[in-house]
Symmetry: C2
Subunit: 227 residues, 2 copies
Amino acid sequence: MSAAGARARVRAELTREITDVARRHLASDGAAALSLRAVARELGMASSAVYRYFPSRDDLLTTLIVDAYDAIGEAVERAEEKAGPGLMDRWLAAACAARDWARAHPHEYALLYGSPVPGYAAPQTTIAPAARVAEVLIGIVRDGLADGRITDPGGDDDATLEPGVTERLGLPTEPGSSLGARGVLVWSSLYGSITFELFGQSVGVVADHDAYFTAAMRRLGGELGFT
Amino acid sequence: MSAAGARARVRAELTREITDVARRHLASDGAAALSLRAVARELGMASSAVYRYFPSRDDLLTTLIVDAYDAIGEAVERAEEKAGPGLMDRWLAAACAARDWARAHPHEYALLYGSPVPGYAAPQTTIAPAARVAEVLIGIVRDGLADGRITDPGGDDDATLEPGVTERLGLPTEPGSSLGARGVLVWSSLYGSITFELFGQSVGVVADHDAYFTAAMRRLGGELGFT
DNA sequence: TGTACATCAGTGAACGCGCGTTCACTGATGTAC
DNA sequence: TGTACATCAGTGAACGCGCGTTCACTGATGTAC
C-alpha cells in the first residue's frame, strides 16, 4: 500500500514536471514549437519515456490548455472577489485581470483564444474550464438583476441564442429579453480588445493601453447597465 | 524590348501561379502547414526553382498577407459603397462583409487576425493594406460628423490614443473628444465577434449567428451615434 | 521472512517523414556589335 | 542578318535539421503466497 502509494506519488511528480517544462516551452516559443522531444531532452530522459505519462503530444497539449483556462479563470475570479461591491467595479476588476493574465502569458492566451492549433481538436474536457471567465461576467449580471440594480433592457436579441442558455445561466428567460446577447457581445469584445493589444493590431493607434482599456471596458459595462 | 517584355510577362505569370497555389494551400491547411516544397511539387517544378521568385518562405507569406488584407479590404469597401445612405446601413454592410469574407476564408482570416505566426515578423509593407477596413469605418464617422448626423459625445477618451491619430484620420482633435477611442473599441469588437464565431468560442451559446451578429453590430454602431 | 512472479519505468535504436535553403550545373533566351 | 557573349530559369543532389511514434529490451520495484 505505502509502496504503491510511493510509486504513485513519484509518478504524479514526474507528470507535473513534464507539464511544467512543457508549459515553459509553450510560454517562450508558442504552441506550434512545443515538442515532446525537447521536453524530454530538458528533463534528461529518453523521448520515448514521455509516452509513459502522456499517450501523445495532443494529450499533453490538452493538459496545458485546461491548465491555462483554469489559470486565467482563477485570476479573474480572485480579482472579482476582491473588488468593491459595485457592479462596474467588479466588472472592471475582472476584465483587467483577464488582460493582465493575457499580457503575462501571451502564448498561452494565444493558445486559448487565438487561431486553432492545426490538426488539434479540443476534447470535451476543455469546455468546463473554458467557461469560467464567462461565468464571472454572468454572475455580476445575475447579482445586479437580483437586487434591481440593473433591469432587463428588452430588445428580444436573446432569441438569437441557443434555446435554454439564458435559463441555464440564470438570466431572464421571457421573450423580449436581450441581456444574454448583450453579455455575449461584451464577452467577445473583451477578448477583441485584449487580442488587438496583444497581437499588435493597435500599434500606432493606442498610446496608453492601460487607460484606453479601462475606458473601453467601462463603456462595455454600460451596455449591461453596470454603474 | 518585346523579347524582354515577354520574359517579364512569363515571369509575372509564374509568380502569380506560385502565389495562387500557395494561397490555396493556406486556405485549406493553414499558414503553419504552408511549405515551399509542397507548392513547388504541385507546380511540377524543383523546390529550388521557387527561390528564383521568392527569396524565402517568409517573403511568400508576406505576399499572401498583403493580398489577404487587400481582399478583405476590397470586399468591405465594395459592400459599403453599395449600401444605402444611412450611417448605420453603411456600417452594417461593412461589418457583414468583413464577417462574410472571414467565413469564406477562415485560414486567411486567422493569418491576419489570429495568433502571430511564430518566427515571422510582419514588414512595413503590410501596414497600409491592414488599415483598409478601419478606414471604411472612419469614413462613415467622418461623413456623419460633416453633415451633423452624429456629434462628438465628449468624454476625453481620445487622450489615450497616439497623439496626431485623430487629426490624421479627420476626426475631432479638440481635447475632450472620445470618437477615436470609441472607433477603436467598435473596430476591435467587430473582430472579437468574428473571431469568436470562427474559432468556435460561441458554440453552444449562439444559435442564429447571422441574426446575432447583425444585432450586435447594430449595438456597436450605436456607440458611435449611428442611426 | 523469503521466494516466484507480475508490473512498471525507462532506454536506445529505428522508422518514416518533411522541411528550408544552398550550390554547381545545364540550356535556353535575350543583347550588343 | 549573324555571331559572341551575358543573363536568366530551372534542375537535382545534398546539407542539416527536427519531429512523433513504435518496439523489443533491461532492471528495478511491488505483490501474493
